[in-house]
């Protein structure tokens, strides 16, 4: 975007504004001076021997003020400023999109739902005050369940930040079975960090006792990991100069914080990234395309509002791809249960309906549209993404 041009235009405005201000000051001073001088004439003439002709003084003042033409002067500087102001506005309209609501469908978003979404977004970020304040101001019911859970999460994370793993370990212990189902080994990772911490700060005996108490249950599944940790015992107190010095890296703590959050959210049935952030980011990426589309379709506004599917693809980055969508390269139809993708023996993939068409309802062999292979319907098999 031509931000430089816009900035220059703005600089011109602010210069003119200052100029116009000082002009106004100047004009006021000039007028003031004349009036004061006239006043002076009256006051100096207070001795009655030579009475001033007040009429002539006032007429004189009037003429002088007319000669200055204060209003004219004010108008001149303001005119220049106005010119620049309207130029700037046009510039903004030219380089930026003056109405991003053009592609907006006038459907009523239920603002109660939006308020809840925003409040949960605040809770998830640990901004509990803000979440409460919003719900309170909007007169919405409290979202207590999620709030208390995110409170737990933030207490755990806060504790980890000051290298206190206790709340995290407690949580992992209570949720051991669920974590196992998710095939997460975050509990082992927590114990490992704790063990390394003891090795660096405590005695070898402490570390050994800790390992006996907490690491042995993991032996059956994570033998290799545990052997490595046991070897660390040899370098108790000087782990940072050992072949295992990598274990002391602070990145382990950062990664663990992230992983804990991820597992916690997943057990809650929540996403790791705030869904509101994802939806808004997708909106920012998608909106330019939608605006172009609504410009093209501006003549058919009604049609655009009634559409069940967007007429053009809105390309989003890969972080927004959550589902496998197969599009048949021949018919451009999206795959579905009735019309699934099929793999031909030449390893090219079309949707079932396209293959039916090509094979005249599976009665004949046909040539793959992409390569010279001859294919029969019986050779094709359905794919599942």
């Amino acid at each position: 975007m031509e931000l430089d041009i816009i900035k220059d235009a703005f600089d011109r405005i602010s210069k003119k504004q200052k100029l116009s201000s000082s002009k106004s000051q100047e004009v006021i001073d000039l007028v003031g001076l004349e009036v004061e001088q006239a006043l002076g004439k009256f006051q100096s003439a207070h001795d009655p021997t030579s009475p001033v002709d007040q009429k002539s003084v006032l007429t004189d003042l009037k003429l002088k003020l007319n000669a200055i033409g204060p209003l004219h002067q004010l108008e001149g500087s303001q005119k220049e400023l106005n010119l620049n102001l309207s130029k700037y506005q046009k510039l903004l309209e030219k380089f930026l999109n003056p109405d991003i609501s053009k592609a907006y469908r006038n459907v009523d978003f239920d603002f109660h739902i939006v308020n809840q979404i925003v409040a949960v977004h605040f809770y998830r970020q640990g901004l509990f005050d803000l979440g409460d304040s919003l719900l309170n101001e909007a007169g919405e019911p409290e979202a207590t369940a999620l709030k208390s859970q995110f409170l737990d999460l933030h207490q755990i994370i806060e504790a980890v930040r000051v290298r206190n793993l206790e709340p995290a370990l407690k949580w992992a212990c209570t949720n051991r079975e669920k974590l196992k189902q998710n095939s997460s080994n975050v509990e082992l990772k927590l114990h490992r960090l704790q063990f390394v911490e003891i090795l660096q700060k405590g005695t070898r005996t402490d570390a050994l006792n800790y390992a006996r108490a907490y690491l042995t249950p993991f032996a059956s599944l994570h033998m290799e990991e545990i052997q490595k940790l046991m070897a660390c015992l040899l370098w108790a107190g000087r782990l940072d100069r050992s072949p295992y010095h990598e274990m002391t890296s602070p990145t382990h703590w950062d990664n663990l914080t992230e992983e804990l959050t991820q597992e916690f959210c997943s057990l809650l049935g929540q996403s790791y990234v705030s869904p509101l952030s994802v939806a808004i980011a997708a909106g920012v990426e998608g909106l330019p395309t939608l605006l172009k589309l609504s410009n093209v379709m501006s003549a058919k506004k009604q049609e655009w509002l009634a559409m069940k599917q967007l007429p053009v693809p809105v390309e989003l980055g890969k972080e927004f791809q959550f589902h496998s969508i197969f599009v048949c390269p021949v018919s451009r139809d999206q795959g579905s249960e009735e019309n699934p993708p099929m793999l031909m023996p030449c390893l090219h993939v079309l949707c079932k309906q396209s293959i039916m068409k090509l094979s005249k309802s599976s009665t004949r062999t046909f040539k793959c549209p992409y390569c010279p292979a001859e294919v029969s319907f019986a050779q094709c098999r359905q794919l599942y993404f």
Partner: protein, 438 residues
Amino acid sequence: MIKILEPSPFTYFAREKFFPFFLKLEMDSLPNGTATTTTATPAAPTAPAPAPPSSRLVHLAESLKLEHQFLRVPFEHYKKTIRANHRVVEKEVSAVICGVSEAADSDVSNDDAVHHLSSLVSRLQGLKRKLEEGSRTENLQAQRCRARLDHLESADAENLSDWNNMRLKRILVDYMLRMSYYDTAAKLAESSNIQDLVDIDVFQEAKKVIDALQNKEVAPALVWCTDNKSRLKKSKSKFEFQLRLQEFIELVRAENNLRAITYARKYLAPWGATHMKELQRVMATLAFRSNTECTTYKVLFESKQWDFLVDQFKQEFCKLYGMTLEPLLNIYLQAGLSALKTPYCYEDDCTKEDPLSQESFRKLALPLPYSKQHHSKLVCYITKELMDTENPPQVLPNGYVYSAKALKEMAKKNNDKITCPRTGLVCNYSELVKAYIS
């Protein structure tokens, strides 16, 4: 030519016959997979590694163009202050000039003249003070305009995620201001230190009017109309007329009929030329009175008319400042949900990472259209990563597809045995085949 490029079974055969070179091109490009999923548009990154910065920057530049309101609102505010200050100076100076010429043209005594002139002097001094204060406000507002320009300029590939977070906060503040959640808006702005990037002060002006309208008072709204008379006239706004109608209705409700008629003569009649129908309808309430059961007139006495006035005011206010009529949050949310919405989002096994797996987002998205795809987008069931040229889809004997990366990893861990996570089928790594999907 362009038509023929659209692959369809029918044009395809024609193409083979008449343009064999097309076939050649496609044969060359397909088996090594270059024509798979994502090459179609520059917007979709093809590499599996972090998206190439160039496409990010293209996105960024496009998204900055959406920030019209961000620059426009403080500018309108600035302009308004400049105009107001100028008007004051003009008015006062011309009053002084008039005062002098009046005095000059009439016969006044010496003392009167002295008195008159000194009052003019003090008037000018007052004006000067006012002007100084006015230009201080102007400078502050200019600073704000500049801060916003700088903020837009500061966005680049390195600080993008911080910048995007900030944008979300700005969008949320905008939403809360429009919904009149002023305290929370102020708290968020303060705690994120973005006061210069949001329009809290502008909305203070609206708050006064809205609060009054909610208390069924029109006076502040009328004052606001007078302040912005010329611009409202330009946009052919009838907001003032609607306020007047409401005041008239209130007089009728109080059975103050004579005053109502005087009021109508003075304030409603001028609108007769353009809004005769509404005027006639409201005048008829004199005959029906506030306890009428006749629906045409009954609605005029309902208290939701006041809510309607609040909405009207919000619209006029937004228009005046060059804001969108809808909160930014709704606009972005709608665009985002349309772009994300697929039939798969509403299935039970929708991944939690998809906002549309949440009941609340699903409800919001209900009236929105589904997104459209021109090209296959395949996400590996195991790794949730996009399958593309670098990480192509591979097929198990039972037709289930996973990414090459995930399957390779699995084979490495399990002696070249692959277990299908969805069906439990066990097969050898060597039994897998690659699928070519364009």
